[in-house]
Symmetry: none
Subunit: 413 residues, 2 copies
């Protein structure tokens, strides 16, 4: 089953809202084994919508349309769909009854605009929307299915889950599909590709791998299609295991896990607490750690020791070390992590100090020079990385690398 | 100028990532007076891309393509573009030099995949990408412009701002257009609309106002069109001044300024230093402050005092106060800001403590209860806000409100 998602509304084209509906629909359809062949966003404009429908029906069996069903005059989807099918509009009494009941319950009057919402193309099968006024519409013409839904996310989701997905499954039973996503940190896309070259070349025809790169992290996604669902899941599990065995040092999680969430799990599992001493990342690592709900169970708090004064007075970094080696040095990050660990009484302490730019670099220590250290019950480790020139990117990337240093130290305990 | 945005990559179609690039591009193009007529997302697949290009060039003058340029083999955009233009691929020596230099600096080896990235369609004009390995490509064929860019957001943004938008302006000059954006914090959209109702009703035909709400802040954008550019700029300046005079208490900046940048300016101007004591925002305010280049001139560092232990030992909050009033209280945030100010020896200290959810709420203090305080040379102030239920949004919103409390305290000095 090939699906085209059509989103209607100027607010998406001018970038006023981000189209999150299509991503959600793509996920749900994909899980059902449907293939989304294209997503398109069009203007609230007759010609655009007609062209869009004609383009969509060329390559897809199913066309799911969202948006343009509200009670205001710029919402014209319904009329254009009727025109596309060369049919007229009829008043749908049950919808009008439902809307008047809803408004009576809220103690609010209906308007002419609500009555206008009850006119539907003659060939539409009405899908009841229990979340709002505009119903969904299902059309089956020339072996293809067309569905029109409101663009309001929770109304669309209600209709998809309760009406559209179940009906599609009966019309197009479809082949098996499955995915496995592995999360890596520490190497770029090309180095990973090199390391798994043979694995990739030996993948069976029906399994594909995709690289999804981010700052400091790369997600690897295996997708398999065809055969029975059971055989496919076994094949994907086997291939996932092979891949895991090839990249044990880089893998930190699966599917929707995050590095900071994973670190939280390890800390809870081992019953350990954490503190931080951040210089160049300026609190961003603490922010990442505390986005995890329940992080107060292991995160005691931390220092953003931006100035040398604070490094000395709050963390006990020695003036001589700062003098001799400078704030961005192995000796200083070691004193920072060890100092924070002792002062806070945490089991683990992560420290970081670097030059994020655009200013502050020197010939010896250019912008992008970063030292990080982890102090724990097994001792202290330190690592240097060299990164780019963009301040925000540097903060994000250095934070990911520092969290990975912490993760590796935790796994070694 | 009509523009079609084409996004390439299965990860969007299966909903693994949300297409935020198109929204950003839509905004930028709209500001230049361009009309985005369609946004479409396609699979990493030869036929889909060829069909997509043919469909796009029917209705648009400019086709901006993102994605599918990475060094791994699932990225085929470039080859399909060459096929579309019926041309071959040539090796682009300057790109190879740039990539080898980048990797030499990082002390990492290049791979065959990086060399493959240097082959470009023969008719491409190369746009240098200073943020990554894959360059942008500019094509001008049959009166239309085609641009291919990497899908990584910061690489795409770099190329759009530095190469694509300026070049498009020379190819399609278009009618006069101008914008003025004013930044407000402290009131919602409807209250602002009420306050500027008369101003809005009296705006000339060719000037429109848009409300762009964000978390805790609302941007007001005036857009003027037509006439000479000079007259238009004068008109917009006059209208901007009128608007400024109507909302002096809410306005904190213009255009791309940020609240944290503005606070940095005021601190520098007044020769003051800053520290923070964050509990519930977990380092996010420190992160915001330190995203500003040069912030080390006034930001001395800060505490993420997540645990009560840390509030007492590092900041000197009294055990009795925590016992009597709880960690989320006016008394505690006052002791936090005053303690941090004294211990760090900063002129200003901002503190915050609240319940971000999903857990941790009680009947008396539900999720979303937040206290904040600013201590400075003129004394200490405190404020309570009540916010929502979503953890990440709460962190963002509470940080904006706390920064605004600091900004107001600074302006009163």
């Amino acid at each position: 089953m090939k699906v085209h998602l059509l989103t209607i509304g100027d607010e998406i084209l001018i970038g006023q809202i981000i189209d999150t509906n299509s991503a959600w629909m793509g996920q749900q359809l994909n899980l059902q084994g449907a293939e989304v062949v294209e997503i398109s966003s069009l203007s609230d404009d007759r010609d655009s919508i007609l062209n869009g429908l004609r383009h969509a029906e060329k390559n897809a069996d199913v066309i799911l349309i969202t948006g343009g069903l509200g009670p205001t005059k710029d919402d014209i989807t319904k009329k254009v769909i009727a025109e596309h099918f060369d049919t007229g509009m009829v008043f749908h009494e049950p919808t009008w009854e439902r809307i008047t009941k809803m408004f009576a319950k809220w103690g609010r009057p209906t308007t002419d605009a609500h009555r206008a919402q009850c006119f539907m193309p003659q060939n539409a099968e009405i899908l009841t929307n229990r979340m709002g006024t505009a119903p969904g519409m299902w059309f089956q013409e020339n072996g293809k299915v067309y569905v029109s839904m409101p663009g309001v996310p929770y109304e669309m989701k209600y209709l998809m889950e309760n009406e559209v997905l179940p009906k599609l499954k009966t019309v197009f039973p479809g082949a098996a599909i499955g995915h496995r996503t592995l999360l890596t940190v520490g190497e770029g896309e090309s180095r990973i590709a090199q390391r798994i070259e043979k694995f990739e070349a030996a993948l069976p025809e029906n399994v594909k791998i995709a690289y999804l790169p981010g700052l400091g992290a790369v997600r690897l996604r295996l997708t398999g299609r065809g055969g029975t669902q059971e055989d496919l899941e076994l094949l994907l599990d086997a291939k996932k295991k092979e891949l895991c065995d090839l990249l044990p040092d880089l893998l930190f999680g699966e599917e929707r896990e995050t590095l900071e969430g994973k670190i939280g799990e390890i800390l809870k599992e081992k019953g350990l607490t954490l503190t931080l001493a951040e210089s160049c990342t300026g609190g961003y690592i603490a922010h990442k750690i505390t986005t995890v709900p329940g992080s107060s169970a292991y995160f005691l708090g931390s220092f953003v020791s931006y100035s040398n004064e604070m490094k000395m007075r709050q963390l006990g970094v020695k003036a001589e070390t700062l003098q001799a080696d400078g704030a961005v040095s192995e000796a200083v990050v070691r004193e920072m992590s060890e100092g924070a660990r002792k002062i806070i009484g945490a089991d683990m302490a992560l420290s970081i100090s670097g030059i994020m730019g655009p200013g502050g670099g020197s010939e010896e220590k250019p912008v992008g020079t970063v030292w990080m250290s982890v102090a724990g019950p097994a001792g202290t480790v330190a690592e240097k990385i060299t990164i780019g020139k963009d301040r925000l990117k540097n903060i994000e990337y250095a934070s990911v690398r520092a969290l990975n240093l912490l993760r590796r130290a935790l796994l070694n305990l």
